[in-house]
Symmetry: C2
Subunit: 243 residues, 2 copies
DNA sequence: CGATTACTTGACACCGGTCAAAGCCGGTGG
DNA sequence: CCACCGGCTTTGACCGGTGTCAAGTAATCG
């Protein structure tokens, strides 16, 4: 199985084989589900590359509430910093068992400094992350629960597709309703009601840890989802690749 | 009056005088209030530096609704891209009369390529933007109207302070309640009610186009605001400067 | 000084939060 | 193989925060 980071960056900008070789950070370590990959507010001098599993960036709010501000899929970095000892404004937690590779700032700097191609690819992936954040903001601030949920499911499904983690029109879906609640800003109870609406509208089939999307276009429609910001077309292929 | 971009980057990372000189992009053009600086969804090969005025990044939603996903203050770039012909997933509009300087991708690339110091400063400012986005997400998804508003006002006030645009404990505040509504995800009417609450709690004095914050700590408290993510201390000074 | 834009106020409805309790798993150990 | 258990999901009742509609008042600008 290929390094998901290479897959992603190559899709985004195209990568020389030499640059691809630089992106092998070895086997990595394992983090159990529900454990921190990066503690909230910690000062770190490294980043971690998610190799397998699903994680989230979160912020703890008053009253023990957790706000999920983004999901990490294989090929994503927890944080991309080039300066040492930055204090994080968020934490990163494994939502499923995860495999991660730690990369020091120095290594990252050397990578980016050594290849302008790579530097640009990393930059572009950051731009895409920002686009995702903007989409979340617009979505959460303006839409009712069902649209929010549909939008989120679209995004996750398409990003999984980009990472090669879907089959046909379905995928593994290990997130709990509690996770979805923290990500959408809805209560657990209301997430449940919302999912049932989507189910009864036959927009999704969500059971156990498996999600099927019978008709992606209809789900995108329900969530006012514009795939443009993921830099891809409807079929899960990246646009803008330099081929 | 000094170039606000130099002010910002120097605060964040420290800049050589030689690098500071590179950041002078000339006089710039004027954009009237309520006009686009960058049209939503347009394909551009340049970025624009905001020199004076206040602008916003926005996304148009169904039904003519506008979601504001971020504010731009003097010294901020509308978008930082290094590759040509990117299609934007958002627009940028002037909320007040604005002066902006257009900078081509090529110029930007030359700047970043010519000075690793500058490249790092630009990167760090992007990191901070992401931190702001995360704070917005957490805030909007988890808090009731009054807390959201308090949080937003804190952020704007502190960022204005960093840009040297406050006096004592007050500042010019040209944003309308309609703008605040689009940014907080509340309705115009509810923004009004919320502001009155904050006024009657004597957390803010907002009248005409002028905002006074009698006690910033109390306002931060009310908005669950942690200034950490702006990389500054309570007094409006930047932390982490390499002095 | 008229006209447009911004702000304010009140009444009412509804989305979604909260609380509480009951099913439904999947795993673990006897 | 079954009993048990903790986490996840589902349901129902109730209520509060916010959206919406509508009308009226202030501020701003040409």
């Amino acid at each position: 199985m290929q390094n998901p980071l290479i897959l992603k960056l190559d899709h985004l900008c195209g990568l020389e084989p030499a640059d691809q070789a630089r992106l092998d950070f070895g086997p990595g370590r394992t983090v159990a589900a529900h454990h921190d990959i990066l503690a909230d507010g910690s000062q770190v001098s490294h980043t971690s590359l998610l190799i397998s599993g699903i994680a989230c960036r979160y912020k703890m709010m008053g009253g023990g509430r957790r706000a999920i501000v983004g999901f990490l899929l294989p090929g994503d970095f927890t944080n991309l910093l080039f300066a040492d000892r930055q204090k994080l404004d968020f934490g990163v937690a494994a939502l499923t068992p995860c495999e991660v590779a730690d990369v020091s700032c120095a290594t990252l700097q050397a990578l980016a400094g050594g290849s302008s191609q790579l530097a640009r690819a990393l930059w572009t992936s950051t731009q895409m992350e920002q686009a995702v954040q903007r989409a979340w903001l617009a979505n959460i601030s303006q839409c009712t629960g069902d649209k929010r949920m549909a939008h989120l499911l679209c995004e996750i499904f398409l990003r999984l597709q980009l990472a090669g983690l879907t089959h046909e029109n379905g995928c593994e879906f290990p997130l709990t309703q509690s996770d979805l609640a923290d990500a959408t800003g809805l209560s657990k109870v209301h997430v449940n009601r919302t999912l049932q609406e989507l189910r009864s509208a036959e927009l999704i089939v969500l059971k156990g840890k498996s999600l099927t999307v019978p008709n992606l276009d209809r789900l995108m429609n329900a969530g006012l989802f514009n795939p443009n910001y993921l830099h891809m077309d409807h079929e899960g292929r990246h646009l803008d690749s330099n081929e």
